[in-house]
């Protein structure tokens, strides 16, 4: 090994704490990159494999009642590879241990053959016998949540008739990866499940023998989805088709996709921050190391070592650090990514996980880390290479300080000399001080940028459940009913308020931009389920026209007064025009709202209801639930308080993991920056500090000088960190936003407070570590020698 290599190894060992701090920050950068990209790649690959193996459909359509003979015509649509006609109905369940009514999506399984589309992945048990009307297969999450197994029994209201069902199998399906009950916003596995029955049994129950209510198609590779949808709509129109749609609008797929896209977005935001900090740390540490080695550099040059050779020596130092950082980051990132993928895999109940390793991402992570490290080192190394040997061997001229603003200020304030020293030292190397401030600020920003989501979630929940949808429950009718149904529901035990709603599936478009939505129609003066304006004040829906959620309005590019086109998904897909009469605030979905009477006019029929929202007396809840579970009032019952709790629990659980990771990373950055700054400052001022000890300053007073310097930087970094954090929060919100939900950016006071507390703690820890060195300053040694 060449002597310079030996020196390199010794330098690395000597500077190990600082090297470690830089390695940690670099590792944080590449780990976040690998983590996000890796988890996304694994989950995307898993989803693709799952979809493929179980033949997840490409096109979906619901219809009132169509004859199975239509199947042949559907199969002839160009590009169609497989057609599965099925029966799919919502039903209320009565579960033995659950007081609340639950609901299920009943889906038929073909008798005596395997489905060609959306095949089940059986976990336990078997498929139901065609001739046995009580046998069912249930979805695994639902079974687990209710502790059901093969042999368990429960009751369902199937087309108004109570039926006892027996579980013969537990399965998963690509169609219900994300199984959300009607009226819910998060899976509630206890209260909503998928129940598969034999086609024979369901057809008999719903009077659909020889007919179907749902059709799923698989398309050939390269086939046009739009054309298939259009042709399918044509075929189903006269049978009460409600508009075919692709995977994008399929609930489970849409939610799954949104989650994965969020994961991917996260992997783009954080790595650059860490790498920038790492570059700065490399610059700071290397500059100091080289300053201390000036004479050695001069000596090496005098002995005939070339500029390039010496430059390369220092670059090798940087390269070793960067490779260490990238390597550690890749290892930790892969490990965390696998963990994250498992976490998501469990949440989505994927039957298996296909772990995807992407060496190209590793290469990118390593390359970017090296690049940022070299960028940090470039200037210093170039200066070393240029340094003439004679000059290098002379000790550097004493640091020149100048009089300035600081003096006048210090004199006016009568500051102690130790504090003047601190201020001059900070002001003397403004770039380094600013860099450190920025580094600490970025760690504050990372924390602010992740901690804000709690407040945002609270606002979202408050707006959605306390201000907009304030009902206790939503009842969805099996089929639409006349206004008189209001009275019937009002007579149920404990019900105090009943308000009608109508849900109209439609395509809404402006020019070429189109979205598939359900227009929600409410009665004038509705007080339970309300719509809110920008300031969250309830607004009365205009008698005419349509109110759009701000998100939908933005997508369509329309404002109040503009006209949108509404294509009804039912009723022969009639197209009507409507004027946008209000823009309202929602965080969930793409909402469109109309007055109930206006909706009647749009549909050209009298007022009918799809369901009601109710408020009830909690004392009589048990009586009400008992009736809902046993009488055919509703096809589903959504409970607001429970939905809110589940939403909060699920998010908090998922957020906890993310926040833990980010807080750890933020602390690493804060610690790394403060520690490196403190070490360098100590190395520069060690001699002065030792002299002060000689002059009779106590250990505490001398440490105080360094601590004051760190405190100035740390405190100056806080407001900058808050601002950067707010920016980061907006970036994150943009990454989290999709058409299913929006994340409002609200940064409550406790967020910057916590972020600052955590970084100050990290700074304090690194300061205490350095203090040990101050306590052990060798007073005699330092005075005997020149620097």
């Amino acid at each position: 090994m060449s002597v310079l290599r030996v020196k390199l190894v010794r330098d690395l060992l000597r500077l190990w704490p600082q090297v470690l701090a830089i390695v940690a920050v670099m590792a944080a950068g590449s780990a976040t990159l690998i983590l996000g990209v890796g988890a996304y790649a694994t989950l995307a690959e898993t989803r693709a494999a799952y979809y493929e193996r179980n033949r997840f459909a490409d096109v979906f359509a619901e219809v009132t009642r169509a004859p199975k003979a239509l199947g042949e015509e559907i199969a002839r649509i160009p590009g169609v590879a497989a057609v599965e006609m099925r029966i799919a109905k919502l039903a209320v369940l009565d579960l033995p241990d659950l007081p609340e009514p639950a609901s299920a999506m009943l889906v038929s399984l073909p008798d005596r053959r395997e489905a060609t589309v959306d095949r089940l992945h059986m976990i336990r048990g078997r498929s139901p016998m065609a001739e046995d009307e009580r046998e069912v297969v249930v979805s695994q999450p639902f079974a687990d949540a209710n502790r059901f197994d093969v042999g368990s029994r429960f009751a369902a209201l199937i087309d108004g008739r109570r039926r006892e069902l027996t579980i013969v199998g537990v399965a998963l399906s690509p169609e219900f990866v994300y199984a959300i009950g009607p009226g819910d916003i998060m899976p509630d596995d206890r209260r909503f499940g998928v129940v598969w029955m034999s086609e024979h049994a369901l057809a008999g129950a719903y009077d659909l023998v020889g007919a179907f209510s749902s059709v799923h198609l698989r398309l050939m590779r390269g086939a046009s989805e739009a054309e298939a949808i259009a042709r399918l709509d044509d075929l189903l129109a006269r049978w009460g088709g409600r508009g075919a749609y692709g995977r994008r609008d399929q609930t489970s797929h849409a939610f799954l996709d949104a989650e994965l896209k969020q994961l991917e977005a996260m992997s783009r935001i954080l790595p650059p921050i860490f790498l920038a900090v790492a570059a700065f740390l490399v610059n700071m540490t290397l500059a100091r190391t080289i300053a201390l080695e000036r004479e050695q550099i001069g000596l090496m040059k005098a002995l005939g070592r070339g500029d390039l050779e010496i430059g390369r020596h220092y670059l090798e130092f940087v390269a070793v650090v960067a490779i260490g950082g990238a390597g550690l980051g890749i290892a930790v990132g892969t490990w965390l990514g696998d963990g994250m993928a498992r976490l998501y895999g469990d949440f989505f109940h994927f039957p298996f996980l296909v772990f995807r390793r992407s060496p190209e991402t590793w290469a990118i992570a390593a390359g970017v880390t090296l690049l940022s490290a070299f960028a940090g080192a470039a200037q210093t190394v170039a200066r070393v290479a240029r340094l003439p040997p004679a000059e290098a061997m002379r000790p550097p001229a004493p640091t020149r300080y100048r009089h300035g603003l600081v003096d006048r200020l210090a004199r006016r304030l009568g500051l102690r000399q130790t504090l003047v020293m601190v201020i001059r030292h900070v002001a003397h190397a403004p770039l380094r001080s600013l860099g450190s401030i920025l580094g600490i600020a970025l760690s504050v920003a990372v924390l602010v940028g992740s901690l804000w989501v709690y407040g945002s979630m609270d606002l979202m929940l408050d707006v959605t459940f306390q201000r907009a949808d304030r009902q206790d429950a939503t009842l969805g009718f099996v089929r639409e009913r006349p206004l008189a149904a209001l009275g019937e529901v009002g007579a149920l035990p404990g019900v105090t308020v009943v308000e009608p709603f109508r849900s109209i599936p439609a395509k809404i478009r402006n020019g070429r931009t189109e979205r598939r939505i359900a227009i929600s129609a409410r009665a004038a003066g509705a007080d339970l389920s309300r719509v809110l304006d920008r300031d969250f004040r309830p607004v009365e829906l205009p008698k005419e026209g349509i109110a759009l959620s701000d998100a939908l309005a933005r997508i369509l590019g329309v404002g109040v007064g503009d006209t949108v086109e509404i294509e009804l998904s039912e009723r022969n897909r009639r197209v009507a025009k409507a004027t946008v009469t209000a823009i309202i605030t929602t965080y969930l979905g793409l909402g469109a709202y109309m007055d109930l009477d206006a909706a009647g006019r749009l549909l050209r029929e009298g007022t009918a209801l799809d369901g009601v929202t109710i408020a009830y007396d909690p004392v009589r809840e048990a009586d009400l639930f008992a009736v809902l579970k046993t009488t055919p009032v509703a096809a589903f019952v959504a409970l607001q308080k429970r939905a809110m709790r589940i939403y909060r629990d699920t998010l908090e659980q998922n957020l906890l993991v993310m926040i833990t990771v980010y807080v750890t990373l933020g602390m690493i950055v804060a610690f790394g920056v403060v520690y490196n700054f403190a070490r360098i400052s100590l190395s520069e001022q060690g001699r002065e500090l030792a002299s002060l000890r000689v002059l009779g300053l106590t250990r505490g007073e001398v440490s105080g000088i360094l601590f004051a310097e760190l405190a100035i930087l740390t405190l100056a970094a806080q407001p900058i960190g808050w601002l950067l954090g707010a920016g980061l929060a907006h970036g994150m919100a943009a990454g989290l936003e999709n058409e299913l939900y929006r994340v409002p950016v609200v940064i409550l006071a406790d967020v910057p407070a916590t972020a600052s507390g955590v970084t100050i703690l990290a700074a304090l820890i690194s300061a205490l570590v350095v203090r040990r060195r101050i306590d052990h300053l060798d007073l005699v040694e330092v005075l005997k020698t020149r620097e």
């Binding site: 640091t399 020293m421 002065e688 030792a690 002299s691």
Partner: protein, 235 residues
């Protein structure tokens, strides 16, 4: 002779570096009276600096005792030694050890801020002839000037003991003389017991007494019958 303000008895110091033990002091008995000016001479490694550091509370003896007035330094805590340095001792070193980010005045104020009955920094600097260089940073001062700032800093607290380790070692003769003048002047004006380490035999003539060190012991101690003024010294 006035009462001894500094007294050591049987002072030894052993440095253990790895497996090698170096005995720097082998039983030093020493006394200095209040206001005495003592020059310590001796070759490198003879133990002068170790002795000075122990007397100044910068280092601890392996055995023996050091007394300052009626304080026992050998058994003092770290904090007590810090207070001893803060209140009673002034140091001057070969390499000045000024804080580069503080002006001459501020470097002196570093001490006067924490001392019990200090003089004004301006007065201390005037004693060493730097009244017109108050607001200069170390980088703007010559070596001699920097050393005189260090002396001003050492005496501003009105120390009972002034310890100087090679104060002229880094200076040319002309500048060195100026520094010596400052030292003798301070010695007479504030009456600090002054111990000066030097390799420069010529300097011995300005002292009340000259102490020779060799191999960790005091080998001779001689009182000068006649003290020469610093200005008359040449080397």
């Amino acid at each position: 002779m006035a009462a001894a303000i500094l007294r050591t008895e049987g002072l030894t110091k052993i440095y253990a570096t790895g497996s090698v033990e170096v005995q720097a002091l082998r039983g030093v008995d020493f006394e200095a009276a209040a206001g005495e000016f003592v020059v310590l001479l001796g070759p490198s490694g003879s133990g002068k600096s170790t002795f000075l550091n122990i007397v100044g509370g910068l280092d601890r003896a392996s055995s023996g005792t050091v007394r300052f007035a009626d304080h026992e330094l050998t058994t003092s805590t770290e904090r007590a030694l810090t207070l001893y340095r803060r209140d009673h001792v002034g140091f001057v070193f070969q390499f000045y050890n000024l804080v580069p980010s503080l002006t001459a005045r501020e470097n002196v104020a570093l001490v006067t801020e924490i001392a019990r009955a200090p003089m004004r920094p301006e007065d201390a600097l005037a004693i060493v002839g730097l009244a017109d260089r108050l607001d200069h940073f170390p980088a703007q001062l010559s070596g001699g000037e920097q050393q005189r700032v260090a002396i001003a800093r050492a005496i501003a607290k009105r120390p009972e003991v002034l310890l100087c380790d090679e104060p002229t070692g880094a200076l040319d003769s002309h500048t060195g003389v100026k520094v010596l003048e400052a030292l003798t002047q301070v010695n007479s004006e504030i009456g600090a017991t002054t111990l000066v380490i030097t390799h420069n035999v010529a300097i011995a003539e300005i002292a009340d007494r000259v102490v020779h060190f060799a191999d960790g012991r005091i080998v001779s101690s001689a009182t000068n019958a006649h003290r020469r003024p610093a200005a008359e010294i040449v080397w």
